[in-house]
């Protein structure tokens, strides 16, 4: 008896799936660090501006 | 028997490696060395010698 998978995908939906997968990878690649910076920015009391967030020099 | 049937280079029989040299080639050698180093290290760290190396502040 042939093994039947619990879900059968057509070629088209397989392609769509891999497209979504590679897109989410790109989003995570370029979005991870901005996300960390946003989280930190949102939780810091004095809300530093973008320049002071990215520059290594003391901002005060 | 003359030397003419000998393979070239084998004329002078290679000096037979000593018992220790033979033992060095076996895999047991690194095991033994490192295990004894470990035991020696533990003994050193646990000994008062190590305490003497701590600075008296």
């Amino acid at each position: 008896m042939a093994y039947l998978p619990s879900f059968i995908l057509s070629d088209e939906s397989k392609e769509r799936f891999s497209k979504v997968f590679s897109l989410s990878q790109t989003v995570a690649h370029y979005g991870w660090l901005p996300f960390v910076l946003y989280l930190g920015w949102a939780h810091t009391a004095n809300r530093p501006n973008l320049f002071s967030l990215l520059s290594p020099l003391p901002s005060v | 028997m003359s030397g003419r049937f000998n393979a070239p280079g084998a004329g002078a029989p290679a000096k037979k490696p000593s018992r220790f040299e033979q033992f060095r080639q076996t895999p047991a050698y690194p095991v033994l060395v490192n295990l004894s180093l470990f035991v020696a290290g533990v003994a050193f760290i646990q000994s008062p010698l190590m305490e003497m190396m701590a600075p008296q502040l």
Partner: protein, 389 residues
């Protein structure tokens, strides 16, 4: 009809019983059918007995397998800290609680450090998130989330240009006397339901309050069509009753045996020792032709002895190993906002040496932290105790 009270048919408690024989004990009557039937009550009893026995052993959590020899390999030995060339770290802290910090790292003449890297870190009580990007645009990220005090989910991501990306998901459970960990690297399930990637499950169980034993199983399949690989590693750890020395051993599935020993010699001095033996196969070359004619087992071993001295302003680590390497790492805080790093290694057998120098700047992103770094509280008054940043 009649004034007589109805017969107490449903009241079984009125039925006289033979003394000593009761259909149900007091505690069983309080429980539902599922816990009071003979089979389940037996199982419950066994479970309760085991549980109370476990409680009586006063076992503690043994820590995780990942941290099995952390004291030696990550704290005392130089290896983790070593770098070559010049480097400068510019750390900028914006807030302490929750912690938020960015860092710029510049490096010159190093084999493994990128020439520029930027990283950001954010941590609060139950979350830790960190991201790192270098000049070649490769990004690595880490996210730890604690659901409660026993459960932690971790994710590690890595994306680099032109290389397959990596994703690792991990779940940690710390019980009262054991730790469980499930890890999966690049997991994927093909449409045929075949798992590919690496899956690791491990358990570390305390056997006595000092001694713990553990097991790690690895299942890996590179591609869906390939045959899978499975392996088991064994680990053990012993912590001395006074916690002043620790022994740990690992027998890894790839044929490596690692033993380590750690001792806290004094308040500020720690010593560590690590021995590793790696078994492998090497081809035997024909002495005349030079072609491989077979394979032979070989064992490589190395033993490293290290120590760590902690002073008020500086930390010194030194190590000496059986392959002829002597290395040291020195970290000294010259100002509250500036520290100097120095590391060096001499390989006596190969006649090689490596050198690294670095500077670490701590800058503040807010008024409050700037005052804190200079030892003042927000109002400009000196703090009682120096703050460790």
């Amino acid at each position: 009809m009649s004034s007589t009270a109805p017969l107490p048919l449903g009241d079984f408690s009125k039925i006289p019983t033979i003394p000593g024989v009761s259909p149900m004990t007091e505690s069983q009557q309080k429980e539902s059918f599922w816990s009071s039937n003979p089979i389940f009550s037996y199982l419950n009893n066994v479970y309760n007995n085991i549980h109370s026995h476990r409680q009586s052993l006063s076992l503690t959590n043994p820590g995780t397998i990942e941290n099995l020899n952390k004291e030696v390999s990550r704290d005392v030995l130089v290896g983790q800290y070593f770098f070559t060339g010049l480097r400068a770290d510019l750390n900028k802290a914006f807030s302490m609680n929750p912690a938020f910090q960015t860092s710029h790292t510049l490096s010159l003449g190093s084999a493994n450090l990128p020439s520029y890297a930027f990283s950001a870190l954010f941590a609060n009580d139950n979350m830790f998130i960190q991201g790192n990007v270098d000049n070649e645009l490769s990004v690595s990220g880490r996210l730890n989330y604690g659901w409660d005090k026993n459960n932690i989910t971790k994710a590690t991501l890595q994306f680099s240009q032109g290389q397959p990306s990596m994703c690792q998901l991990e779940q940690d459970y710390q019980g009262s006397d054991f730790s469980l960990n499930f890890k999966s690297l690049n997991p994927s399930i093909s449409s045929k339901g075949v798992f590919s990637g690496v899956a690791v499950g491990s358990i570390l169980q305390s056997v006595t309050p000092q001694f713990s034993l553990g097991l790690e199983t690895i299942f890996s399949r590179g591609q869906a069509g390939m045959p899978a690989d499975a392996a088991v590693s064994y680990v053990t750890r012993y912590v001395a009753p006074k916690q002043d020395w620790i022994f740990s051993g690992q027998l890894q599935a790839n044929g490596a045996l690692v033993a380590s020993f750690w001792r806290k010699v004094a308040e500020n001095v720690e010593a560590g020792l690590e021995t590793s033996l790696q078994a492998g196969m090497a081809p035997i070359a024909d002495p005349v032709i030079g072609t491989p004619i077979g394979i032979q087992p070989i064992i490589e071993g190395a033993t490293t002895l290290g120590c760590k001295y902690e002073y008020r302003q500086s930390v010194f680590r030194g190590s000496l190993d059986s392959t002829g390497k002597v290395s040291c790492f020195l970290e000294r805080k010259i100002l509250p906002t500036l520290s100097v790093l120095f590391c060096g290694e001499i390989d006596h057998f190969k006649q090689e040496s490596k050198l690294g120098c670095g500077l670490q700047f701590e800058t503040a992103g807010s008024e409050e932290l700037l005052m804190l770094q200079q030892g003042l509280d927000p109002n400009g008054n000196p703090l009682q105790a120096p703050v460790q940043m």
